[in-house]
Amino acid sequence: MMNKKTLFESLQQQGVTRRGFMKYCTALTSLMALPPSMIPIVANALESAKRPSVIWLSFQECTGCAESLLRSHSPTVEGLIFDHISLDYQHTLQAAAGDAAEHAREQAMKEHYGKYLVVVDGSIPLADPGYSTIAGISNLDMLNETVAGAAAVIAVGTCSAYGGLPMADPNPTGAVSVSSLVKDKPVINVPGCPPIPTVITGVLAHYLTFGSIPELDDLGRPKVFYGQSIHDRCYRRPFYDKGLFAETFDDEGAKKGWCLYRLGCKGPMTYNACATLKWNQQTSWPVESGHGCLGCSEPNFWDAGSFYKALSIPDGDYAKAAGYAVATGVALGAAAGFANQKTKSSAVSQHTKVTVDDFDMNKDKK
């Protein structure tokens, strides 16, 4: 945004022709999961798009989300996008450390006040700020301070979107999501453990292109990517509809590519784009490689029981259960201390450990 050159101008300066630019727009439109009829509109918008400043904060996380994005593939459209946003702070990637790094963050905030984007991966511990600090600043303080001048916040990964693994029972650090703390700025949730890299860049590209926030569902996720369940887009769906299920990972049904529902597939309650966008440069995706969906883009998926236990609740009820879980998450943020203790103890009682029995698919029949 501070950068005076538009994306189109900087591409032109690199000797990229109009054809090259149109090719870039075609790939970008596909990346944003928009129909090809939008290509001219994307081109039009990009002709005047300026480079936004991005501050990336990493809290209680495993760096898997950043890895998903950065190790995906280098000079592609995603790479080009990174040439065209100004990533002013990312403590895992930047060369500067300590005070110098924090200065970079403060500098970017000052220069682009009200206009920069904040990307967050990881959850925020409220039980004791000492669980996670950066340059002696607690995660909560850094979030509040940085978000104050932001145009919008993108919560990348299930931890920052819904609390994720750190918030899983018994939530020792009192971890909460970004949206339970940030109430006065738009928060876009990009969940997944990790999210599909093209979804992360797709959301960034949307902001870069249109300067606005994509349409979100009631869990704060962009509808273009999270509008349909894995189950609704799954190519194994015809088997599900016919009642043809694999019962173990190497039986006849598994070999014939039948539905993985009885092997614990969480596809019916999971909203994500894996079935169409796929993983590893569109090579494949979990169900295509023979394993059920874990439900990684849903709130509280770590506490939803064994990955190998078939969903017992019909779709509708499950959605309600998930909705309830989110409400709990929000309450947690508001009245962290007390509510947290309560949730913790009920979570402990509900906690189920995965045992070797869970892998025995015939257990229920015995």
Partner: protein
């Protein structure tokens, strides 16, 4: 050390009692747009990367449409291939990046993919460069 591309590893899904039906639906969509092209000069593009394909569906579609009379290669931010299929007016367009990875794949229903034409901006630029001679 020789490296093997993922695409070289043959994966066979053992399923012959099941046809996804995806081919039927996309072919009738294509036929509809081809009529629109002829009658109303309306072009249309389908993003092949947004399809919930079963393994092998895309190959089946490409094999069915086949290769027609013309193929064009573009070099801008990596290679792009445009070829008309055996069905006139139906083009398959594949965009690659500089690393030869596919970054876009579309079916275009048109008399000529837009990007093949010389672009006004590039022509203007050419005039300026010629004047500098």
């Amino acid at each position: 050390m020789s490296s093997q591309a993922l695409a070289d590893i043959k994966v066979q899904v053992e399923s012959n009692e099941y046809e996804s039906g995806n081919l039927d639906s996309i072919l009738s969509e294509i036929a509809f747009h081809l009529e629109q092209l002829l009658e109303q000069k309306k072009t249309h593009s389908i993003d092949l990367r947004a399809m919930p394909w079963s393994p092998g569906d895309e190959d089946k579609l490409e094999a069915y449409l086949g290769q027609g009379e013309i193929q064009i290669e573009l070099n801008a931010l990596g290679k792009s291939l445009f070829y008309e299929t055996q069905y006139s007016g139906i083009w398959i367009v594949t965009h690659y990046n500089q690393e030869d990875e596919i970054i876009g794949k579309l079916i275009e229903i048109t008399y000529m993919p837009e990007m093949v034409f010389s672009q006004k901006d590039d022509v203007k630029d050419s005039i300026e460069r010629l004047k500098q001679y």
